[in-house]
Amino acid sequence: MSQIKPDARQAIPATDSAVSVRNVSKVYGDVQALKDLTLDFPRGELTSLLGPSGCGKTTLLKIIAGLLPATSGEVLINGRAVTGPGPDRSFVFQDFALMPWATVLRNVAFGLELRGVAKSEREAVAEKYIAAVGLAGFEQKYPHQLSGGMRQRVGLARALSVKAEVLLLDEPFSAVDEQTRRKFQEDMLELVQNEKKTFIFVTHSIEEAVYVSDQIAILLPRPSRVSEIIRPASFRDKGVANIRRDPEYLDIVDRIWASLRNYVE
């Protein structure tokens, strides 16, 4: 029973998977959130989980993160089964999850602080990533002094600073304004290029998913399953400014909307 239909125009390349989800089910009480879901996340690529609300995409992400236990099935990271949170994964939260009582510097260094890295060392790493996300000079500010977009940059810097192989992003741009989001999406592409990491990206925006992804997994609800996997082929190298008017980009957006529209209440 294969739920994955390879995209006809391009065979899935034989890259290995950093993360594999094998027959995962999740039941909350009498609600079946995920049913027998199998999905692979190729190493070094960005995979989006896209679907209508209630399709279990955030649940799946939290199971991969080890924040939620799966009812059955398993998640493999480099072949090893996930039993809980691990140093190989880091999480970017939809609501930023910044500590309001801590400065930007301490927030970014918090993952390293929990790992017992010495203060001077972890602050040096944090400063580097604060600069990398474009927040140099804001180290001693508190989260309430930053705009929404800047707060999420702090969340991103925190996730990068622990040097995890797999970055899990839960609708990271849904709480920031449209213009900031576009800038973020461009920065995401650059990040995927520069950092040799595997990104798993949950979103409900079709345009966002197509824009940033190497691979898009479309999840449908009731019961939740992977209905389709799409790998955009041609527009990734045409430059950030040209993607949104590329015919393939527009085709894929239309195609996804056609298959999702029946599930929108």
Binding site: K62, A65, G66, L67, P85, G86, P87, R89, S90, F91, F93, Q94, D95, F96, A97, L98, M99, P100, W101, A102, T103, F110, G111, E113, L114, R115, Y142, P143, H144, L146, R151, R158, V162
Partner: protein
């Protein structure tokens, strides 16, 4: 801006004390002295040292009671907030304590613990502890879930989650519980001196009323209010120093 807020504070003080002075001069009652008479009495008691002797008495049950309430109150509150079973066990006790009319319980306390320090400490604790416990518990229970998830996902041990997430996140509400608890403790301390044995400031109030020395009575009342306000301000300063980013609310709301 600081000057303006200081100016407003002075103005509000001027209005209140001015009204007091006028009301005392009318006079609205023979037993109501003017502001200046009361301040003169306060100055007299300060210079002859009676007020310090009185506070030496009053502060003992107050400080002991507030310290016990703060330490045990926050401890029990944390436990209630973290554990459902413990909540079922202990939460009703503190809700009853908070609702019970304290003055009615004082005779029972006196029967059990006599008229000494123990009873007075108990009165202070009964006043101060419930609000500290209940505030702490609800603050702990309402720690933002995403902050706890964040810590867990970055490999925090349970101890880290408690010390680095739950406690600082709960601190604004814990501190507001402390403030309420401390002011209730002041009420308890004075109440115990009026109801159990007249000592300290309670003695000044009772005695000067009985000899119709109303300025001294009002001076004593004024001084205890002043002390309570100063202490609460101190507590607020302490909170601002400890958790600097907290005093502008949560960013993730």
């Amino acid at each position: 801006m600081i000057n303006r807020s200081l100016l407003l504070k002075l103005l509000s003080g001027l209005i209140v004390f001015g009204a007091w002075e006028i009301a005392g001069r009318v006079p609205i009652s023979y037993a109501f002295p003017t502001f200046l008479e009361s301040m003169a009495a306060l100055a007299r008691m300060t210079f002859d040292g009676t007020i310090f002797v009185a506070y030496g008495e009053t502060l003992r049950p107050l400080v002991v009671g507030v310290a016990i309430s703060a330490v045990f109150g926050i401890g029990i509150g944390l436990w209630i907030g973290l554990s459902k079973q413990f909540e079922w066990l202990f939460s009703p006790i503190f809700i009853v304590m908070q609702a019970a009319p304290l003055a009615a319980l004082i005779p029972i306390l006196v029967m059990i613990y006599g008229i000494g320090l123990t009873s007075k400490v108990f009165v202070v604790c009964i006043m101060a502890m419930p609000v500290i416990v209940l505030n702490t518990a609800s603050a702990v229970r309402n720690t933002p879930v995403s902050l706890k998830e964040m810590a867990t996902s970055f490999l925090a041990a349970d101890r880290d989650v408690l010390l680095k997430i739950i406690l600082p996140a709960a601190s604004p509400v814990i501190f507001s519980g402390l403030r309420l608890g401390v002011s209730a403790g002041f009420i308890g301390a004075i109440l115990s001196e009026l109801k159990i044995t007249p000592t300290g400031v309670g003695d000044i109030i009772t005695y000067s009323r009985s000899i119709a020395d109303y300025p001294s009575m009002y001076a004593a009342i004024f001084s205890i209010i002043l002390l309570a306000v100063l202490f609460l301000n101190l507590l607020e300063k302490l909170e601002n120093i400890l958790f600097e980013g907290n005093n502008r609310g949560y960013v993730s709301d």
